[in-house]
Symmetry: C2
């Protein structure tokens, strides 16, 4: 999820040489020939082929019996994909529901946390709260599963020009809208670069043509004046209006002139802009209609409810050489299940505590995943004041408060009620909240949100539900930070005897369902290949 840059010096040097002499056309054509340029024909679908029943034709073999530990996305996908070829899969899920961190809370849902705190959600009908993942990028394999499973999708509003930015520590006493903040930052950036360029400060880097094109771009990008106006940024209607243009001669009331350059940079609003450039966060983003858990629900339905044992806590995993024995506790009773193979698709730090005979190296590797805390609160309001009063239809407000982000709902526009995510934070901020009672969490989130949204943030509240992933039994964390490239990490990519591992923690898209899906596919492919090879 971080923004890593990658240097490919030799290719780059070659391309520069082509580019300099041939212009953009030659450059792009060359890139295409080298497989570097985007091509309309290029497929981004991973080269996964699901196991099929016909794979066993003429082999005399058939799908094996597999026990899957954990009914999150990775576990469900493992059973789903293996099931296509007739594998006999059983999922053991320790919680009372499938989905794992893909958790959607609705009215009537009850959760008991590690501290024994019980929360019963009392959201209204039609109101839901995605306590775990909330968004999907277009390129993610999650989209393919939604299509394949018939889970309808809609836009997740990951950015909104009318959402707020509020940096209290920078001295802001009022929030500023994204559109306003962007106009000002881009305006001043353009002014500065135009001045430097026009004064010749960059002549060693720019040709005359570059310079003219850059200046032309900056005038458009920053809405700045021309040379005669010393390229100054003095404001633009992109900042927004206090009263938008109307009938007759009503040109509207512009929001006003921008604060001085120093104040704009001191307010540090620009720190949030690059979020939307992220390969994983850029709009458009999507969500299942009706709640993120439509995905695990559809997977569970496809797998078959009879293959899923809920409230089944794994207590031991033993590789017997020719089979695997898994013992588990369900309803106060110990049971055992024997299978040809096992896929462990529960969090690594929990699997590390399950007694097994897979070796100390496996335990050490499993225990070597640093775990991140994260939490969210869902606030149901009796009115959609953010839409009617503030004209914010979805999107995210960014703050430097300990609530971090506030999400406005991407569904139910213009409805009677609605649910705002009042905080979505990680690390120390998340632990601050997870240490509080649900009532205290709500109070803390509300008391901060009113700074941005005014009194209705408190007065229109109906009910709330907060989820602390570090205090969630059988999960105990939001996501991990794999130590890629270490022997321990690589060890878990191989089966330990008859036991395979799967989960987003064994992928390069940790904390995304995409990671869980591709890791499950990887385990499925390896297992199926082994069974096919006999």
């Amino acid at each position: 999820m971080s923004d890593q840059t990658q240097s490919m010096v030799s290719r780059r040097g070659f391309l520069r040489a082509v580019g300099v002499s041939g212009g953009a056309g030659a450059m792009l054509a060359t890139m295409g020939a080298m497989g570097l340029a985007p091509s309309a024909a290029a497929s981004v679908t991973p080269a996964f082929r699901a196991p099929e029943r016909s794979d066993f034709t003429l082999t005399g073999r058939s799908g094996a019996k597999v026990v899957v530990l954990g009914g999150g996305i990775a576990g469900l996908t493992t059973a789903y994909e293996l099931g296509k070829a007739g594998y006999d899969c059983t999922i053991l899920e320790a919680r009372h529901r499938v989905g794992g961190r893909n958790l959607t809370i609705r009215g009537g849902d009850v959760e008991t946390d590690l501290d024994g705190r019980i929360q019963r959600a009392s959201f209204s009908d039609g109101v839901y709260f995605n306590a775990g993942p909330g968004r999907i990028a277009q390129w993610m394999v999650t989209m393919d599963y939604c299509r394949e499973l018939g889970v309808p999708i809609e836009v997740f509003t990951n950015q909104n020009a009318d959402a707020w930015i509020y940096n209290e520590s920078a001295g802001m006493t009022e929030p500023v809208r994204y559109r306003t903040a962007k106009a000002d930052v881009y305006g001043y950036v353009s002014e500065l670069l135009a001045k430097a360029t026009d004064q010749g400060a960059l002549d060693s880097r720019l040709t005359t043509e570059d310079r003219d094109r850059l200046l032309s771009f900056l005038q458009s990008f920053g809405a700045i004046g021309g040379r005669a106006g010393d390229w100054a940024y003095t404001g633009t209607n992109r900042r927004g209006f206090s009263g938008y243009p109307g009938a007759g001669n009503d040109v509207g009331s512009l929001l006003g002139t921008p604060p001085p350059l120093s104040d704009v940079f001191a307010s540090n609003v620009g720190r949030y802009f690059s979020f939307e450039f992220g390969y994983d966060q850029a709009m458009l983003m999507f969500q299942p209609v009706g709640g993120m858990d439509q995905i695990p629900r559809a997977l569970a339905k496809a797998v078959g409810q009879h293959r899923i044992r809920l409230n089944a806590e794994v207590t031991a995993v033993t590789d017997r050489g020719s089979r695997v024995e898994v013992t588990y506790r369900q309803g106060g009773r110990q049971s055992q299940i024997t299978a040809d193979y096992c896929v462990a698709a529960l969090p690594p730090h929990l699997m590390a505590r399950v007694p097994h005979n897979l070796g100390a190296g496996v335990t050490a590797a499993l225990a070597d995943f640093p775990v991140t805390a994260s939490g969210k609160i869902g606030l149901e309001y009796r009115s959609r004041w953010w839409e009617t009063d503030q004209r914010i239809y979805g999107g995210i407000t960014e703050t430097d408060l300990d609530l971090s982000h506030i999400w406005y709902p991407s569904y139910g526009f213009h409805g009677k009620r609605g649910l705002v995510v009042g905080y979505y934070n990680t690390g120390a901020n998340a632990r601050t909240y997870s240490g509080l009672t649900p009532e205290q969490r709500s109070e803390r989130a509300i008391s901060q949100g009113v700074k941005i949204h005014g009194d209705k943030y408190r007065s229109e509240l109906v009910t709330s539900y907060s989820h602390a992933w570090d205090r969630t039994r059988y999960i105990e964390g939001a996501w991990t930070s794999p130590r890629y490239g270490t022997p321990g990490y690589n060890l878990l990519l191989q089966p330990a005897g008859r036991v395979y591992f799967a989960g987003d923690w064994l992928s390069h898209e940790v904390a995304w369902q995409h990671g869980a899906f591709v890791a499950a596919r990887s385990a499925v492919s390896a297992l199926h290949q082994r069974v096919m090879a006999g």
Copy 2:
């Protein structure tokens, strides 16, 4: 719709003075006190109060009889709002349906243009084509009407990081995705400004603190290296991947290193970036679920179908001093309607040709609206290849081809079929297409689209329908460019005797439904005030 900047020198000078000494906090507080800063409590709702039946209580008066010319958004809204107070309204609409330019085409719809060309749309069930307006900004009063009328809305995908940019005239031979183009342009812009800043070229404009903050912003904004790397932009994962990160040790395949700076600016991809900053175009944008014409349909239902006469072409308007007489042709027959007032809500250039006794000044003013041509084509495909093959779920591709824009659908994600808007152009480009037969238009659009999308752009096509607004009878144009501030424009803001004028052409939001709504409200308020005053 243009990006005008407005200078408010005295306020600005004062604010600068405050800002310099007080920092961002003081600055924003001062702006708030001056009514310039965004305020959470500030309402952006126009100060319109709909006429009510109770307005006539104790006055001895009642709603008058009003004939409305034109059943577009302005005409429908006029009748809708006046109807709330019991006015007896009749709408005369020359076309066979209401909505005016708010036109949604579905399978079975038939349109005959000014040249006698007949098109019968054969789109599949559930596929629709918004030939006119397609999007709504959050602040627009159009949103309020959707809420009031119970028209459900959903996100209109006005931008997408995965849509393409293709500038053929700049020598591009392959399209580039927005995300890639943005990463490269912002990367190089950041590199250049960081270099100039660090070299002291901007010391006269920046304090030491400004400089540090700016450099920090640029590193985040452009994903550039630090001082040790001479602030160089050498690529970023924001450009995208040819293969996205996967399981195990699959870090993905970055799209490659960026083209050289000169090529990036020569490709002119940056010219499209500021579109999304526009006060009227910035995401999030919205559309009615099921087609834009859900708005006029809901308005017509609220007005009452018995008050709307279709295929009724106005042939004369005569102000008799105490009443207005309107003659119209319907089904080959001349009819007359007499009312207390008339609201002319048809295009000004058409009203200018209707015989009337309102004076030569009115005719001259009505004829003084330059008219813009615009056209769109809807292309129905048997598969949603843009989603499955190119991972584009909505959004807009920008080109310098005469098709200008390509819109991917904002509805029906993951469905079987889908409709792409194959061109949306204006002016000379629109007239180029409107001069062709529907078959020729389709062929021209397809032959260009394949350059961007490959063969499926042709091979998957099922059917198409194109709409040329300059060739549409009773409309004859897409929108106008009012000569704001001229005596002629101002003349039409006043009633000509008992005849009022309304339409987006009498607003500062031409070509937007918002303009039609607010202009109608303005006419309604003036008329109601007059009736109330007796």
